[in-house]
Symmetry: C2
């Protein structure tokens, strides 16, 4: 019989180092590693600013004091990956108030030069150039901060739902059709057949409500083949989807969205101080109830306060959402629900009883941007078939869904929240593409 | 100025109810809701077994005791969604040892009949029929248990990485090419261009290592256009991807995978007792170090112990992995790493110094199934370009990646773990498709 595990385990741990932020002025010798952020050569003195994920540290090479290391550091280039062992000493001028006197210096990887994009200097570069060089752009501390903040935001969001007993699900991204029709779908060649990329997991979430899963969430992806050129659209969208059963009405869904969003924002305010500082954001957590206004009230308000009339009277336009958002933000409400959109177009949405127009659909507007849509769904399949016939929706595409819901479905509702938009607004970015590591739009398929 | 929030908040909470498992025999009146799992009509007596996400409860309707409700329940059908308010009483015969004496009975939604698939009865149905009727199949308590267990498994896995400071990332699923070439890629029509569905986030994870993100993970999706018909392949795969920098070698990556997997399995063993019971699984948490054997040792072992020779001498075949898995499982090791696969084919993998054959690639075999591949990556772009030229890999497809890595990249490695395979093995299922809510294969695009 063979002895289990003849390969010796790694006797070495990870490359020894601590993060730059953890270097204390009174510490013994420490090791740090990172990219060379800045080089200042003052003759017999070289200042190296080394950057890791958590911050910056200055290393001072003196020709007199450490001639060999000083000699070695003459070849250093911007963005080289280096490791330095040294003694921390207090320094008023250095970032973080501490600098390293080097004892060992090692280049782990040399960077090519010149850099097509400046990392350290705050040069004004247009977004398109930044995205063309996204691999380098992502190195900037304020860009990295966007994505470490995102990670903390999502961890908190998922934690809320885990603790409330929601089941974390995974629905398919390759599908036969879409919830809202065909024009905005990306076609795939699926073996020898046509298929499409999913626009929304809504139909699957609803099937799971019929199947008794009671409450689910999904951190997923949605695809929209729209031919846009705006600051708020992309072709591949990170989505946070929620669905829950045994609701009285759409207000239960809004309650869930409101509480979970407040929880996630609170977590970010508490755990992402460094990121918020770097991004120069003063994040206000909406502790008060989010206002809930009707669609009609929203239209009235836009007319009376701003003289604005949305082009399509059954929907708010981008300008309307922006004005509405600003109006409520000034009153201390960064988030507002608009409730009861007209019931046309939404075969899957419940109407409000005794109201000939309003559906149980709501949108959440956060800092002037539509962040999510949701509502109470229609769970009576006969009613859905009627509406589909009236609206000319091709029932055949939805047969698997209608059949699934026909075998006993509790009242339910849900919403889909655009994660990229949320991140954009939380971090105060101008364009949604800045809130996505590698965004996709009609012209951008790389990197 | 308009008053914020003119829509009155919902005065009602969610539909009032508690879960069936929470009904105590000595409790006051309670409300429960769920699907009608079973109906037994004994003349003046009707037993209704109601099923919710957490279990079953028996409701007893007596003609003598509650004639109106007894009358109403005559129309009940299998899988109707009902709500019952009643008084819990102890009962030796009832599931859970408690039954309800109904005070109120309400049908929230009627189910169509007949059901194309039995939910309550343990009828032997083939997998294909089950998947054709997946919306109903998902209602079975033992199927639901697979996916609530999955949710707990993933929560624990992500928790481990969050606490270790890994950044939760989102990489694009629409891409220009793939890490391993073209044949297994699904083509998309991306506006007026050709694009592909991502096979792996590896290139993007590596770019993030170059960009200084240090340690990342992603719960994502991978697509494989393979034309298979096995119990372990699907076209759309749930993946858990990990990458970390400043490693000494691939053993650091294995350490991360080993510790995180042990943590997640331990969490499931502790928090998913009900699911494991329903699935009749006695989950063994591998508390000992996972054995790490070389590829050569694996070949030797297969030859000497089983007389088995894999067809391709540079890889283990399915049968080899199965035999190897069983061999180590018998020794109390459900998980084993095979380390140092021959270095052909992997331009992105580092070689082992002083070894002409072995790369720093490893696979994890869990209960006889390859669960993940990983290793230390090559971060020297010049070396990669050489290997690509030798192996005939089209460099143009990878230019964005090679360029990104050229500007200073720390030593790094990572792996991609198949979540569906992990879930399949943890829950003891025969086929990977049972571990996916809505699986996709060459013949299955719906539901």
């Amino acid at each position: 019989m063979m002895d289990a595990g003849t390969v010796s385990r790694n006797s070495l741990p990870m490359i020894e180092r601590i993060h730059t932020v953890d270097v204390e002025p009174d510490a013994e010798e420490v090791a740090i590693a990172g990219h060379v952020h800045e080089i200042r050569d003052l003759g017999g003195l070289v200042f190296l600013i080394v950057r890791d994920r958590e911050g910056l540290i200055q290393v001072v090479f003196k020709e007199e004091r450490e001639p060999d290391l000083f000699e070695a550091v003459q070849d250093v280039g911007s963005e080289d990956v280096v490791r330095v062992v040294g003694e921390p000493v207090e320094s008023g001028q250095a970032p973080g108030g501490v600098e390293l006197v080097p004892h060992e210096y090692e280049v782990l990887d040399e960077a090519a030069s010149p850099l097509p994009l400046e990392i350290a200097k705050d040069v004004d570069v247009d977004l398109s150039t930044r995205l063309d060089n996204r691999a380098l752009d992502l190195r900037k501390p304020e860009v990295l901060a966007v994505f470490t903040l995102r990670s903390k935001l999502m961890a908190a969001m998922e934690e809320w739902f885990d603790e409330e007993g929601f089941v974390d699900i995974k629905t398919p991204l390759i599908s036969k059709g879409g919830a809202e029709g065909g024009a905005e779908l990306f076609p795939i060649l699926y073996y020898d057949r046509d298929a499409f990329l999913s626009q929304s997991p809504q139909l699957y979430k609803q099937i799971l409500m019929a199947a008794g899963y009671e409450a689910v969430y999904e951190t997923g992806t949605a695809f929209r083949a729209e031919n846009f050129a705006t600051s708020r659209h992309v072709s591949e969208i990170a989505m946070f989807d929620v669905e829950l059963a045994y609701i009285e009405d759409h207000h239960d869904v809004m309650d869930v969205q409101e509480e979970s969003l407040r929880y996630a924002l609170r977590a970010v305010a508490e755990n992402a101080e460094r990121e918020l500082d770097l991004l120069d954001v003063d994040l206000e957590v909406p502790e008060d109830d989010f206002p809930r206004i009707t669609f009609d009230e929203a239209l009235d308000l836009l007319e009376t306060e701003f003289g604005h009339f949305p082009e399509d009277p059954t929907d708010l336009d981008t300008k309307g959402e922006k004005l509405l958002g600003e109006y409520f933000e000034e009153q201390g409400h960064p988030a507002v629900f608009v409730v009861g959109y007209p019931d046309e177009k939404f075969y899957y949405m419940q109407d409000v009883e005794g109201d000939e127009i309003a559906s149980r659909k709501f949108d959440l507007i956060y800092k002037g941007l539509e962040l999510s849509s949701g509502g109470q769904r229609q769970h009576n399949v006969d009613v859905m078939r009627e509406v589909m016939a009236e609206e000319g929706v091709e029932e055949a595409n939805f047969e698997f869904y209608l059949e699934a819901l026909d075998f006993g479905t509790p009242p339910h509702g849900g919403y889909g929240l655009g994660i990229d938009r949320l991140l954009q607004k939380v971090t105060g970015l101008d364009n949604i593409k800045e809130a996505i590591m590698f965004p996709r739009d009609p012209n951008r398929l790389e990197p």
